[in-house]
Amino acid sequence: MATILSVHGLRKQYPKVNAVDGISFEVAEGVCFGLLGPNGAGKSTTVEMLEGILRPSAGEIRFRGQRIGARYRERIGIQFQTTALQDFLTVRENLRLFRALYARGADIDELIAVCRLGEFLDRDTRKLSGGQRQRLLLAIALVNDPELLFLDEPTTGLDPQARRNFWELVRSVKARGKTIVLTTHYMEEAYLLCDDIAIMDHGRIIARGSPQRLLAEHFDDSVLELPLAALQDRPVDLQVLRKGEMAEIMTADVNGVVRQLLAADVPLDRLRIRPRTLEDLFLQLTGSELRA
């Protein structure tokens, strides 16, 4: 697969902190590349440098082999985490405004259909729901028919239904051959959408690969979840992790653990066995919750 974006020795230094500390990676054409990390890990800074709106202190970013320059903006699309739009303009007028800022672009009617903006085309953008607004922002990011699309936490603040709808939309965009760089707080989102992820912490990339490969590399066990109450007064010789009201037992030998629990007469009515998730991996690698 051809490389669309290559990053070498990228560094961003602020007076007291190395926000991004010399990272290198490549993004293959047509994939959805996920950049994950706790707050302050340097992922926003990295993405802004990749978007060409923040100047790196050192290192280089190449788009299709060329150092990014003035014409780069014509070829990429960006959906910021929070974007204000001009007040008093309708959805359609916003699309036209942004379309006019680019030399080439997508067909507006097609964009309206893809992002399902039809029902509220003539509505003032201030009166849109969260999901509608994100769809409009995605359409604006796609207005120049970009080869590379940046989505910066696009579903933060959306309700679960709107989030799922948005994922569908991202999949259909990807199916059109666009390369996507996604940052997100939601591990489930990264798992479902990304072909390739990089986990950042303290300005460096600490893990890199497809979600499946990363999970396989770091874990060979599963997680048994039980209510803490079920284990009360029933001593078992197992390492139990408390997580709120729940107890988590990590094990590569599920049968063995279940036998042990049965032997101790632990009620298994609410037992849940799940595979390891990116959330677990993230916790293990960074030692912090995503929102910490």
Binding site: E51, I53, A70, R73, E74, I78, F80, T82, T83, A84, L85, Q86, D87, F88, L89, E93, R96, L97, F98, A100, L101, Y102, A103, I140, N144
Partner: protein
């Protein structure tokens, strides 16, 4: 420079302004109320202070001439009767005295009640003083005031409509979004300038024409000339707003700075009262503000029938200020918070 991009942003900004009914209403109604209200209030007994120009007779105190000792009157120095007499004709000052020869001569406008009263006060102190009355068509205060009010409204609209709005755009992240497109800073800035210029001209012309229907302003010069200096004045004040808006993210800070500029401008640029005879420092300060030059030029055209060739200085100053402010505003401009 890409015209298509510039026009797209210009169009978007203009739509935003026109659809913001409250702001539009404010811009239209405020000056009408002010012209009508101030015209009504001040068309009666006149301004509360007497202003008298003095030629010769230094220093300006009672020892020089007993009349100069009257505390209720503001005396100031005039160099030359030729320059000062028209001011009496135009009611810009209430009286002119020439103390450089004996007996003293004085000019008042026969149509000015204040002038006649001052003449009686003068003759009480100096019975020999010789009257040199001029008549000169009376200029109502409202004729003098209207350019001031319209200019002030333009000033507020230019400064806040550009300065405040761009800071709001920056704070909300809209500028960051635009910066991610191929739009260039100069295209964005020009679009803001032209949008505000077009709208403020429309509003000012509409308000002027509307007020003219019932107030019948005095117009000695050409409407074209008046329009031209209005354009120059508006551009210079918009460019001034661009400087304030170039970097800040805080609307409070920008608002404070804009107030710091607009209020002194309103006071010293001669919106309500002539700064004729004001202290040197005030006059010096007034020259720094574009509104002063705009009002001087507009009043010269409307009240004295000045031609563009008579107004080279204010025109050059306004053009110079526009270019300088615009250059500075563009150089300082940042899309994103620092």
């Amino acid at each position: 420079m890409n015209l298509r991009r510039l026009l797209a942003v210009l169009n978007a900004r203009s739509l935003e302004f026109v659809r913001d009914v409250s702001a539009l209403g404010w811009n239209l109604l405020l000056p009408v109320f002010m012209v009508a209200g101030m015209g009504f209030i001040f068309s009666g007994p006149g301004r509360p202070m007497f202003t008298v120009g003095v030629v010769g007779g230094a220093p300006l105190e009672a020892g020089t001439h007993p009349f100069l000792g009257l505390e209720q009157i503001r005396f100031y120095r005039e160099a030359d009767t030729a320059v000062a007499v028209p001011k009496v004709e135009r009611h810009r000052i209430d009286m002119l005295i020439d103390l450089s020869q004996q007996p003293a001569r004085y000019w008042i406008n026969t149509e000015s009640a204040k002038g006649r009263l001052l003449a009686r006060l003068l003759r009480a102190e100096d019975p020999g003083a010789q009257a040199q009355t001029v008549s000169g068509a009376q200029i109502r205060y409202v004729d003098w005031l209207a350019p001031g009010i319209l200019g002030m409204n333009m000033m507020f609209s230019c400064l806040f409509g550009v300065g405040y709005v761009i800071v709001r755009y920056r704070k909300s992240g809209y500028l960051k979004r635009l910066n991610a497109t191929p739009l260039r800073a100069i295209e964005f800035i020009l679009a803001q300038l032209l949008s505000r210029l077009g709208l403020i001209l429309l509003i000012t012309v509409a308000v002027f024409a509307g007020c003219n229907l019932f107030l019948h302003f005095r117009m000695e010069g050409s409407y074209f000339d008046l329009f031209l200096v209005t354009v120059l004045g508006a551009m210079s004040m918009i460019a001034m707003g661009l400087i304030v808006s170039a970097r800040f993210t805080s609307e409070e800070l920008a608002g404070g700075l804009l107030n710091m500029l607009s209020w002194p401008m309103m006071v010293v640029s001669g919106v309500f009262f002539s700064i004729e005879g004001a202290p040197e420092a005030v006059q010096w300060l007034a020259r720094l503000f574009p509104l002063t030059h705009l009002l001087d030029a507009a009043r010269a055209i409307m009240l004295d029938g000045a031609q563009l060739s008579d107004l080279k200085t204010p025109i050059l100053v306004l053009v110079g200020m526009t270019v300088a402010f615009l250059a500075l505003g563009s150089a300082l401009f940042r899309w994103r918070p620092e």
